[in-house]
């Protein structure tokens, strides 16, 4: 049984992807720095991605699960984070008089949302809801490749497709008609480190940033994973040796 079962499992492994393939849209596959067992984030790219988010996407999209203190992961130090948080206004309260009040942000605050609620967000976007981006990289199949493809995917609609008002044609979006106007055209931001802000670079930077936002513990996970897998591999070998030794006298 075991031999056949192994053959069976292997053949499933081989034909499985063939059966699963054949999605509707073509994604651009990229070799992200965070892929693979030793993958890590590119801090410079994440900082640039954050800049694009702030200057372009944050007008419509919230990132509710990210607090300013989390930006330490991007390589900012404590005083930079304090200064960054202070640039935002946060509602707090009630104070001793029972009033809500506005104060400058502190590192413990989460990033404020552009709209007070979903209905306001819809009203501001022709009825479509710009989703929160904190988890978007995990909330779509092949998240990073999808995000990149989506951001570079705005094209002229083929002549046989009519694009209704308030909709835009996008290669990567399922159904091809998305309610988000093309957010990036190139040179939408000026990078402090002098990197050319082409649409591809900005999209890749945003993808790094959004992947980090969705999976902030990715680096720790892989680092611990390598150690655990190494340890368990030794455990496998030792247990096989021990088992052979114990069984040597059984016939």
């Amino acid at each position: 049984m075991i031999r056949y079962l192994i053959v069976f499992a292997l053949s499933l492994f081989l034909i499985g992807p063939a059966l699963a393939a054949g999605g509707a849209v073509e994604l651009t596959k990229r070799d992200w720095s965070f892929n693979g067992p030793f993958g890590t984030f590119d801090k410079a790219a994440m900082q640039r991605g954050f800049q694009v988010y702030r200057e372009v996407c944050a007008g419509c999209h919230s990132m509710k699960y990210i607090a300013f203190r989390n930006f330490a992961d991007l390589g900012y130090n404590e005083s930079e984070i304090k200064a960054l948080a202070a640039e935002y206004e946060v509602e707090d309260g009630p104070n001793d008089d029972g009033e809500m009040f506005i104060r400058a942000g502190i590192p413990a605050d989460r990033m404020p949302s552009p709209y007070p609620n979903d209905n306001a967000a819809r009203a501001g976007n022709g009825g479509a809801l710009p989703p929160d981006l904190s988890l978007i990289a995990k909330a779509r199949a092949n998240g990073p490749d999808y995000l990149y493809s989506l951001l570079v995917g705005y094209k002229d609609a083929p002549s046989d497709t009519s694009v209704p008002d308030g909709m835009y044609y996008n290669n990567a979006y399922s159904g091809n008609l998305i309610a988000m106007p093309q957010p990036l055209y190139g040179d939408d931001v000026t990078y402090a480190d002098g990197t050319t802000a082409s649409i591809e670079v900005m999209s890749a930077d945003l993808t790094q940033f959004l992947m980090w936002a969705a999976e902030p513990k990715l680096e720790a996970r892989k680092r611990i994973g390598v150690a655990v897998v190494f340890f368990l591999s030794v455990f496998v070998i030792l247990s096989i040796l021990a088992k052979r030794r114990v069984w040597a006298d059984v016939h």
Partner: protein
Amino acid sequence: MSAEKFQNPVVRWIDHRLPIFSMLDHEKYDYPVPKNLNYMWNFGVLAGLSLAIMIITGIVLAMSYTAHVDYAFEAVERIMRDVNHGWMIRYIHMNAASFFFIVVYIHIFRGLYYGSYKAPRELLWILGVVIFLLMMATAFMGYVLPWGQMSFWGATVITNLFSAIPVVGDSIVTLLWGGFSVDNPTLNRFFSLHYLMPFVIAGVVVLHIIALHRFGSNNPIGIDASGPQDTISFHPYYTMKDMVGIAVFLLLLAIAVFFFPNAMGHPDNYIPANPLQTPAHIVPEWYFLPFYAILRAVPDKLGGVLLMFGAIAVLFVLPWLDRSPVRSARFRPLFRIFFWLLLIDAVALGYLGGKPAEGIYVVLSRIATAWYFLHFLVILPLLSVFETTKPLPKSISEPVLSRSKSANAPLGAGLEPAE
């Protein structure tokens, strides 16, 4: 049972009054196990290990979880981001659930292949099917807790099935929901039950093991041990052999947890539940897909539900459907072929369950469903009568001995029965 065999005076004092050490000792050394068990016999212990992992990680998760529709999704994100190593605990709980099902599916198919469900192990088998049912209920309710889109819509689709039951259906659904749709009361009762059920499973596992120890393990040849020359003690032989299985299991689990933690999940569950927006495809967790395919293969809702439960019901009566006196498939050439066809059929059902219910997929689901029932209800009873089985060896030792003689033969040659 004397306590004299223990050196430690504390152990001896306790054992004299509460003979737990004698009991453990008895299990370890005096419990005879057939000496020819192969690695397929690791999966019972692995199932137990999975259950332990689920209970331990689950209790830790519950410390930071909030069962409320407004906070559940957020609570899980806090576990992932702010609780120390919370991400690890959650990813282990998520992936170990899938591994638990992989292990139990192999465990069940092991039983099917070697005829472990046959007399005198019918009750042992039935308790196993009870465990399997309880596991499915537990996993289903657990998947609702993070309150993502698939949590919500999966719960809605599955609980709605019960409305197909005549007369009492709607009342049952209202009871499950605690209201008139999947909502906060549903989440609360699911959390409560999700916490309770694993301990019920643990209880049934104890019964399962008591039943196992009554007649001991079956073995790849499927004949009873005829004397001490056929058996060895559990410790150290099977403890060491199980150790190999445990090591490999943990290694594979670690690879999933640390490098592909979301591969067996659905991306939609990272979107907070939204009762106003139905996802494009509602699919349950992968381990339910074969049953989901059976459900959708039938055009009638009640019929689908009945068939889906029927798929498990046939397992309960399996010991009386397959009446062949020969247990192991090694000596049943035809049964063996049908066994592999059934496995292919089950995998095909799993594949089809994940596809939209349209066109060719529906046709294939119907064929695969029909084959599933045909196998249990027609083929097995017929085989019990018409199959010519190969001659059985006289004892477990006989083929084991001949195997060690042919040690130079090509891989696996020794696995054939000696004649």
